[in-house]
Point group: C2
Chain length 193, copies 2
C-alpha cells in the first residue's frame, strides 16, 4: 500500500537492532484516517473470504483491528496478555514471545468468543518472527474455527515469520514489507508487491 | 445513552465484588457498531470543545477511542502500561492502580505526543475510582496541555471517581452510570441522565 510505505519513509525512524519506530502514527499515537485506508485495503484483499470475526492481540493491534472491522462489519476480539479477574476460567491460552519486549507472555482468549463456526481474520501491526500470529492461530485452531487469513500493517521481510506462515499455506497480506533498513542512513527498502 | 444501557442489561453479567462483566461487547469482544454510536454521542456531548487529540490507556480503552476519534477527526494516543524499548526515554509517567487487576502500573506517554497546544479528550471504557483518569490528567497537565473533558462508556456511580472529578471541575460525560447492581438477582439500576 503506497500511502503506508510513504508514511513509513516520512515518519518512521530506523534504530539499531532492526527496530523501526512508527509510534508517531501506528502504535502509540495512532492516525485513525490512515487506519481507515488500511481497512479499505484489507477488505479489498480479503473480499473473497467469509470473514465473520477479527482477532488481534493487545495492545497495539486493537486500534487497527477496530477500524478494519468497520469495513467487514464484524466484531473484534483481542487476546489478552495476562489473566484478568474479569475473564472466566474458560479460556484458550498460548505463550507468545515478544520481539519488542524481549519476554514471553501468557495470552488468553475466552472460549465464548471463538466458536467452531467462526471464520477469523487475524490483524496485527507488525509481523517479524511470527510468534504472535502463531499463537493466535493456535487458539483459533484449538477452537475448531477457521483461519481465513492474516492482515499485517508492516512486515519485516528480513525476519522469517511471514515466509514461514505462507509456506504453511496461511494467507498473509502485509500492506508494507520491509526488505532492508539501514539505521545509519535511515534508508528503508520495501519489497515490490 | 439508552442503547448502551439496554445492551448492558441484556449482555452484562453482574458478579460478586461489584464486578460487571461486559466482555461480550465492550472489553474483550468488541461491538464496533456500538462503539460507533458511542462516538456519535460523545461528539454531540463535546461539540463545543476544541478537541484536537484523544488520550486513552491500554488495552480496553483503545478500541473505543479509535472509533470515537473518527467522529472528531483527530489522532488517538494511548498511554502504555510498561516501559518498552520502542519508546524514547522522553516520557511523561504516572502510577495507576487498577481496580480490575488489583495492582499498580507504571504508565507512560511519549512527550512528543502531548504538546502544550493540545486540547485533549480522555476516553476510557470504565470509570470507578478514577485512578486511570487521574493519571491521564496528571500527564496532560504535566505537558501544559488542556483537559477538555472525559468520555466514559460505563461509570460505576457507587464508586467515587466520577463525583470527585466533577467536583474538581472536570467535565465528565458517562454514557451509562450504574447506580446499583445486585449479583444475586442480576439487576442493574442506571442513574437518570
Amino acid at each position: 500500500m503506497k500511502s503506508l510505505e510513504e508514511r513509513i519513509r516520512k515518519d518512521g525512524i530506523v534504530k539499531s537492532g532492526n527496530v523501526l519506530k512508527v509510534d508517531s502514527f501506528l502504535n502509540h499515537q495512532m492516525d485513525v484516517e490512515l487506519f481507515n485506508e488500511m481497512g479499505k485495503e484489507f477488505k479489498r484483499l480479503f473480499a473473497d473470504r467469509p470473514i465473520n470475526k477479527i482477532l488481534t492481540i493487545e495492545a497495539s493491534g486493537i486500534g487497527i483491528a477496530c477500524i478494519v472491522a468497520q469495513h467487514f462489519q464484524v466484531p473484534v476480539v483481542f487476546a489478552k496478555k495476562t489473566q484478568s479477574i474479569n475473564i472466566d476460567g474458560e479460556v484458550y491460552s498460548t505463550k507468545i514471545e515478544s520481539f519488542t519486549h524481549k519476554r514471553v507472555y501468557d495470552v488468553i482468549v475466552s472460549r465464548k468468543y471463538i466458536q467452531p463456526t467462526d471464520h477469523v481474520l487475524i490483524i496485527d501491526d507488525f509481523l517479524a518472527n511470527g510468534c504472535a500470529v502463531r499463537g493466535l492461530i493456535d487458539m483459533i485452531q484449538s477452537a475448531g474455527a477457521t483461519v481465513e487469513g492474516v492482515g499485517i500493517a508492516i512486515e519485516k521481510g528480513q525476519q522469517p515469520g511471514g515466509r514461514m506462515l505462507r509456506e504453511d499455506g496461511i494467507r498473509v497480506e502485509s500492506l508494507a514489507i520491509i526488505e532492508s533498513m539501514d539505521d545509519e542512513t535511515g534508508t528503508i527498502l520495501f519489497r515490490e508487491q
